[in-house]
Amino acid sequence: MSNNNIVEIQELIKQFPVGGGFFTALKDINLKIEIGEFTGLVGPSGSGKTTLLNIIGGLDSPTQGNVNVLGIDLGSSSHNKRATLRKTKMGFIFQSYNLLPVYSVFENVELPLILNKVNSNERKKLVEQAVEWVGLTNKLKSRPNMLSGGECQRTAIARAIVHKPALILADEPTANLDAENSHQIMKIMVCLNQELNTSFVFATHDEKIMAYLRRIIHLEDGQIVKDEQIKNPEMGEKR
C-alpha cells in the first residue's frame, strides 16, 4: 500500500446474521483514504455508514475483503492488536458524546492518555492544549451534566484529539446539536485537520457537515454509488 493511504479497502463485504440467513450491509466496497483527508460517508439511513466506520475503526470485522488501516491488516489482526491501534492512533466521536458522567472535562480528556501510559505532567500539558483547541479552558473542572450539548461534543473532540491520533472517526457528530453549535464544531475539526494534519472520516447525512467536506463518498444500500471531491468547501469561503 502506498504510504500516503491511511485507509485501504478492497472488495469488502459485511454481512450480519439475521434469523436463519444473512443481511448484507456492505458489498463491493473499494476505497482509499489518504493522510490528511477530510472525508464524509454520506447516505440515507440504513445505507451502511456506521457499519463501514466501525469496520475502519476495528470495532467490527469484515466478512470478506481486505481492510488495511494505518498499515495494519484488520482482517487478520487480533482483538488486542486492533485495540492497540485504536488506543495509539485513532480517536472516536459519537453522536451521543459518550462522556463519562462522573468525571470532569479534564479527566474525560485525560483518559486516552492514561490508557497510553503518558506520565502525569505530560498529561496535564496535553489535556490543557486539547481543551484550548476546543475553547473549553474555563470548563476544565465541570462535569458533563453541567455542560451544554455543544460543550459536551467539544469535550468529546478534545478527548478524541488529545493523544494526537492520525485518524479520527466521527459518527453523526452534529446530530444532537443546533445549527450554530454544529458549525462551531465543524470549524474546530477543520482547524485540527489543517494544523495537525489529522485525517477525519465522518458518517453523516447532515447537510451542514457536507458543506465542510472535501470529499464525499455516497453510500446506498451498502454500496458506494458516488465518490466526489469538493473543490471549495465552506470553510474556504468563511475564513
Binding site: T50, N54, R86, N98, V102, Y103, I114, L115
Partner: protein, 427 residues
C-alpha cells in the same frame, strides 16, 4: 488507572453506595451470627461443664451406666488419693470431686412438724478446700442473690425458686431426707445461708448446692464421690485435648471384669454435646456459604443493572483502545475496592454489636419459661463472643460476593459483539 477508578467509585454513588450497603449489612450479619453461635455454644459448653460434665469427668464404670439414677452405691472410693494422682498425671487440668444426690427437703416449724416439703436435687461440691476454684467456676459472686457463700460443711445454697416454693428464709434449718450410699434411710440438717439464681429455669426450681463434706456426712460417703470433674486451668473447653486424655485414661483403666473401674468421659460425650460441637464447626461454613450466595445474587443483579447504565462507558473505553479483558478486569478491580470498603464498614458495625451483646447479653428467660426440658442445660441469657476470626471473616462473603457478582454481571461484555455495544450506546 487505579486512581481513576477510585474517583469513579467515590463520585458515582449509584454505582458504589448500594453494593457497599448490601455488603456491609451482610458482613455485619455474618459477624454477628458467628459471634452469636460461638458465644451461645461456649456458654452452653461452660454451663454444661460446670453443672454436669466438667471438661472431662471420671466415674466408676457402673455408675456411668446408670448415672441418670445418681446411684451413689456405685460411687468412687479413695477419692483423695485418686484426685492427687490425677493432678500429677494430667497437670493441664484441675480435679474436683462431687456428689450428686436427690431426696426430699423438709422445712420444720418450731414444734418440728413439717411446714413445707419438696423434692430436691443436690450437688456436694468441694467449695471449702483452699485450692478450690468452684466459687469462680459457678460464678457465684453474681449468682448468689441473697445471703452469702457456704462457709461450713452443713451450709446450703438453695435455688431461689425452690426457696420461694418452700418458703425458706436465710438461717432456716432444713432437713434433707434420703438414702446413704449404703441404701440406708438418712436425714441431715443443713442451714440455708443463701439463695442463687443460675438463670436456668428447671435448675433454679429444684437445686441445692452444699459443700462436699456436708454431702459426705449426709450420705455416709467418707472419701467417696459420685464423680471427679476435670477442668482445664484456663477454663476454655478444648475438644481435641479432652478427647485425647479421655482415650488415654480409658486405655489404662480397661479391665472389663472390674465394674468399679474408673471411666472417663469428655464434655462431648454428655448430653449430645458432641453433635453440638460438630454443628458449630459446620454451621459456620454453611452460614458463610448461604450469605455468600445471597450477597452474590444481589450484587450480580445490581451489577447487571449498573452495567446496563454503563454500556456507554464500556463502549467508549473499548473505542479508546482498551480490550474487553482490560475493561472486565477494571470492573473487577472496582468490585474488589467496593467489596473491601463494604466489608470494612460491615465489620465496624458487626464487631461492636457483637461485643455489646457479649458484655450485656440477650435475655430469653421469658421465652424459656415453659421449656422444662432439663436434659439440655442451657442458660436463658445468650451472650455472643468476639473471637479473633471475626476481624477478618467478613472478607470472605464481602469481597468474594462482590467479585463473583461482578464477574457474572460482567460476562455481558464478552457475550456482546463490540459493535453491538455501540449500537446500544447510540440509543
Amino acid at each position: 488507572m487505579l486512581k481513576f477508578i477510585l474517583k469513579g467509585i467515590l463520585r458515582d454513588r449509584s454505582r458504589s453506595l448500594f453494593p457497599i450497603i448490601v455488603v456491609a449489612l451482610i458482613v455485619a450479619l455474618v459477624i454477628f451470627n458467628r459471634g452469636f453461635l460461638v458465644g451461645t455454644m461456649n456458654g452452653m459448653f461452660r454451663d454444661t461443664a460446670v453443672i454436669s460434665s466438667g471438661h472431662v469427668k471420671i466415674m466408676t464404670h457402673s455408675y456411668q451406666e446408670e448415672s441418670q439414677l445418681m446411684p451413689n452405691d456405685l460411687a468412687l472410693m479413695n477419692v483423695g488419693e485418686i484426685t492427687e494422682i490425677l493432678g500429677l498425671k494430667y497437670s493441664d487440668y484441675f480435679w474436683s470431686p462431687r456428689i450428686s444426690f436427690a431426696g426430699l427437703l423438709d422445712l420444720p416449724d418450731e414444734q418440728g412438724e413439717t411446714k413445707s416439703q419438696g423434692p430436691v436435687m443436690a450437688i456436694g461440691i468441694d467449695f471449702l478446700s483452699s485450692e478450690s476454684r468452684q466459687f469462680e467456676l459457678w460464678e457465684l459472686e453474681k449468682r448468689i442473690d441473697s445471703g452469702h457463700m457456704i462457709k461450713n460443711a452443713n451450709d446450703a445454697l438453695v435455688g431461689a425458686k425452690l426457696a420461694e416454693k418452700l418458703g425458706l428464709s436465710l438461717g432456716d434449718q432444713v432437713t434433707y431426707i434420703g438414702t446413704t450410699m449404703n441404701n440406708a434411710f438418712t436425714t441431715f440438717n443443713f442451714t440455708v445461708v443463701g439463695t442463687f439464681n443460675l438463670g436456668m429455669g428447671p435448675l433454679d426450681k429444684q437445686m441445692m448446692l452444699v459443700d462436699i463434706e456436708g454431702a459426705r456426712m449426709a450420705l455416709d460417703m467418707n472419701d467417696a464421690a459420685s464423680e471427679i470433674l476435670g477442668f482445664k486451668h484456663d477454663l476454655y473447653y478444648d475438644d481435641d485435648a479432652a478427647v485425647a486424655i479421655r482415650n488415654q485414661f480409658n486405655a489404662v483403666h480397661s479391665d472389663a471384669s472390674d465394674i468399679f473401674r474408673s471411666s472417663m468421659i469428655a464434655l462431648r460425650d454428655a448430653n449430645q454435646m458432641g453433635a453440638m460441637i460438630d454443628l458449630v464447626d459446620w454451621s459456620t461454613f454453611i452460614i458463610l456459604g448461604i450469605f455468600l450466595l445471597i450477597a452474590m445474587i444481589v450484587l450480580w443483579n445490581m451489577g447487571i443493572m449498573s452495567g446496563l447504565r454503563r454500556y456507554g462507558e464500556m463502549g467508549i473505553r473499548l473505542a479508546m483502545g482498551e480490550t474487553k479483558g482490560q475493561v472486565y478486569r477494571s470492573l473487577i478491580l472496582e468490585s474488589v475496592i467496593i467489596g473491601t470498603i463494604g466489608t470494612i464498614i460491615g465489620t465496624l458495625i458487626g464487631l461492636p454489636l457483637t461485643y455489646y451483646v457479649q458484655e450485656v447479653g440477650i435475655d430469653y428467660s421469658a421465652a424459656f419459661e415453659n421449656l422444662n426440658s432439663s436434659s439440655l442445660i442451657m442458660s436463658s441469657v445468650f451472650y455472643t463472643k468476639v473471637t479473633p476470626d471475626l476481624y477478618y471473616i467478613g472478607f470472605i462473603p464481602g469481597v468474594l460476593a462482590t467479585v463473583f457478582g461482578t464477574m457474572l454481571a460482567g460476562r455481558a461484555i464478552y457475550k456482546r459483539e463490540m459493535a453491538q455495544l455501540f449500537k446500544e450506546l447510540e440509543t
